[in-house]
């Protein structure tokens, strides 16, 4: 029974070898299309790998998100190890020993850049790190699975240990592994601190069946000893890399974690967990909560199809607009608002996440009634009123819209704002069916006005300059509250939470 895993692994590798000739034949048949693909690489920036049939062993019907990624990675990993097209994997001589089957990080990065048509080395590093983190290749002298663009040596993982095999190794397997490491008298197999801690913890947890675990570990060691020295080095490192994926170094990301929303749709939710060392568990295992069978499989009942047919019938003759027209509409929208888009054009006034300058949002608070008129504060008040309206519950919006019209826009309005006739017309139309966005156009116009006119005037004004210097006045002088300060406090309170930069941006 203990022989099983090694045999399994050998069998797997033999199977791989058997498969390879046939896949080679397939690629030969595809050579023409491959060459065409390569030609197109020269003329247009297409990526060669896209045109090749997937060589991954992942079942194409397995559509869980991790599997989709594994398939893509396995295509790359298969090609990168190809004798002709791949990286140079060699045995390196070092001191008294030979290091078999390794490749440098730089070689990997170079290969990725060339074969995935990547120009930026950082991007190649990103992809390489992703592949390493999943354990498809690993540094031979480090538990941390990352890629370095230097002479660090890497080795490729055996397909037996690939994550696409859905290993979810139990702690019993991990215990056997750590245990057997302690039995072999080799420096390269010494436990790292965190591994020693893990072993101690497992010994406590499995106190009752430790004898069983110990025996399994001994059996594994016995099998290992029969192997050729070089082969042993390779297999040991691959086994270690496997555990680095499933029992990562503290602080490293566990890449086998799955989104709980997707777990319930795994192909074999009732899967019996298989042992890396071929053990059959005595007694039943308790299922983890994420592996409960799905209560609802994909629908496909007759009723569903009938409903779908009814729906599709309504869609055939639906009104559609031409692509050119909608494209134009989208382009002009982005064009209109790009100037206000912080990620495209840096906005003024300063960004509150970078500047801690509070004077900007005291701007509003500082206006005395007399100053309000000369700096067109009715514009700002209109803008604020519309912002407020947009946040109201749906049933209040219509009333607020009417109020705003009466206050700011109607003939003889008390705080009449200056809108161009076009925006005025638009807004008046919008108000026939008042909604949250009836004033978008007007708000926009007013914002532009404030930005170009009244706000800039204010920044240069004496009032503002005084405000800045007033902040620096010592404590003693604050007893005398000027009307300016009184106004500041009362208006400031009512504006709590609204940052000026928010005020000055159109929404």
């Amino acid at each position: 029974m203990a022989e099983a895993p090694q045999q399994q692994q050998q069998q797997q590798e033999e199977e791989e070898e058997e498969e390879q000739p046939s896949s080679v034949e397939e690629t030969e048949a595809d050579e023409e299309s491959e060459e065409e693909a390569k030609e197109s690489v020269h003329t247009t920036p297409t990526r060669p790998l896209l045109s090749m049939r997937s060589m991954s062993t992942v079942d194409p019907d397995d559509d869980s998100p991790n599997m989709i990624v594994y398939r893509k990675i396995e295509d790359i990993v298969t090609l990168i190890q190809d004798e002709e097209e791949g990286v140079p994997i060699r045995t390196v001589k070092s001191f008294m020993t030979k290091i078999p089957s390794v490749v440098t990080g730089t070689d990997i990065v170079q290969w990725l850049m060339k074969n995935l048509a990547i120009e930026d080395p950082a991007e190649a590093m990103h992809i390489g790190s992703l592949i390493a983190a999943q354990g498809y290749f690993f540094p031979i002298s480090d538990h941390v699975l990352s890629l370095k663009d230097d002479g660090t040596f890497y080795r490729f993982q055996a397909p037996y240990f690939w994550p696409s095999n859905c290993w979810e190794p139990e702690n019993t397997d991990y215990a056997i592994y750590l245990c057997k490491r302690t039995m072999q008298n080799k420096t390269r197999l010494e436990l790292a601190d965190y591994e020693a801690e893990n072993l101690a913890r497992l010994q406590r947890a499995f106190a009752r069946k430790w004898e069983f675990i110990y025996m399994q570990a001994e059996a594994q060691v016995k099998i290992d000893r029969k192997k050729d020295k070089t082969e042993r080095k390779i297999l040991d490192s691959q086994e270690r890399a496997f555990w680095d994926v499933h029992r990562p170094v503290p602080g490293c990301v566990n890449t086998t974690e799955m989104d709980i929303r997707k777990c319930r749709r795994m192909k074999n939710p009732l899967r019996v967990k298989k042992s890396v060392y071929g053990l059959v568990e005595e007694g039943t295992q308790s299922q983890s909560p994420i592996h409960t069978p799905s209560h609802h499989c994909r629908k496909g009942t007759k009723e569903d199809v009938e409903k779908e047919i009814l729906f599709l019938n309504t869609q055939i003759d639906r009104h559609r607009m031409k692509m050119s027209k909608v494209a134009e509409s989208l382009i002009s929208y982005t064009d209109q608002y790009m100037d206000y888009d912080q990620f495209v054009t840096a906005q003024e006034p300063a960004n509150p996440w970078t500047s801690d300058d509070p004077s900007l949002w005291e701007l509003e608070a500082s206006k005395e009634p007399s100053q309000q008129r000369s700096f067109s504060s009715e514009n700002l008040r209109f803008w604020l009123a519309v912002q407020d309206m947009k946040r109201r519950p749906q049933q209040d919006v219509a009333q607020r819209a009417e109020d705003i019209w009466a206050e700011f826009l109607a003939e003889g309005a008390p705080s009449s704002i200056n809108l161009d006739s076009h925006s005025y017309e638009r807004t008046s139309q919008n108000l026939k069916d008042p909604g949250r966005y009836s004033y978008e156009d007007a708000q926009d116009h007013i914002y532009k006005l404030m930005k170009s006119d009244s706000y800039t005037r204010f920044l240069r004004s004496n009032v503002y300059q005084d405000l800045l210097t007033a902040k620096k006045k010592p404590e003693t002088e604050q007893g005398r509250r000027t009307s300016l300060e009184k106004f500041t406090r009362s208006v400031g309170k009512s504006l709590t939470g609204k940052r000026l930069t928010g005020l000055m941006q159109s929404s």
Partner: protein
Amino acid sequence: MGEMEELRKEMENLKDQITAARKTFQDSTLQEAAAGVTVVGRVQLKTRKTLRGHLAKIYAMHWGTDSTLCVSASQDGKLIVWDTITTNKVNAIPLKSSWVMTCAYAPSGNLVACGGLDNMCSIYNLKGKDGNVKVMRELAAHTGYLSCCRFLSDTEIITSSGDCTCVLWDIETGTQKTVFAGHQGDAMSLGVSPDFKYFISGACDFTAKLWDIREAECRQTFGGHESDINAIGFFPNGNAVITGSDDATCKLYDLRADQELLTYQDSSIMCGVTSLAPSKSGRLLLAGHDDFNVNIWDMLKAERVGVLAGHDNRVSCIGVSSDGMACCTGSWDSFLKIWN
């Protein structure tokens, strides 16, 4: 063969007809039309703030409408309301169930909601009289996990669920007003239109659906993705829909053209899209991926113009504030980051 076979044939036939009908309106492509538009150039955003406090994976975040507060949900069983400028925690709400998958901020700022494996949407009142944040309602009726929720107002909320349906709830009575059924797979994400009349949902049946809230009907369905749609959002003017999928691509669908305009993909992007948000003008699309990065796309030219690399684990959620000034990302590394 059987009736089922016949029905499926009829369905496929209809789908082909629709595809053909859509084709007749393809007099151009968005890329062609945008050929003359000035390039955006490299977009480099910096991390301005890191919000630390969660102790486990963050699954969701949502901005408040004031553009400074946001709420986040983590599997440490907490909902945290953050002041993103000071990085202070305004509220830290302990949840009954730690398997939370979504959270939402009401437009009024008075309420937040969350839900997950408990199949319920829990509404919390942030502005309670005694200052304590308490559960106001527990909306229970879904038979699958709660994947997403969005408030229409303080009295109405829409949820999407692993039971393949979306539901409009009356918060006050705690009852379902409308059930939107039609998806053939888990509904993973939803977005509400700027005018609050429609919402869109993306599901594990690889389609996105546009729903009329008041008429309680599915108006349009969009396909094309090769795997689950995890994220969905409206283009800022409400006329187009953006989706993100496990097939590692994002797509733009126009509502009036009733078809796909663009696909955002790159063979060096291998990991699925978990979340997305358009920038304020709609020119840029920010997409969070399982490979720990956020990719920034020029939406008109379908070119990648930037990458946000700062998280040490999957980016699970992303949001652009309503004033467009900042983007917030949340990750399995337990941190939220503010970028601009």
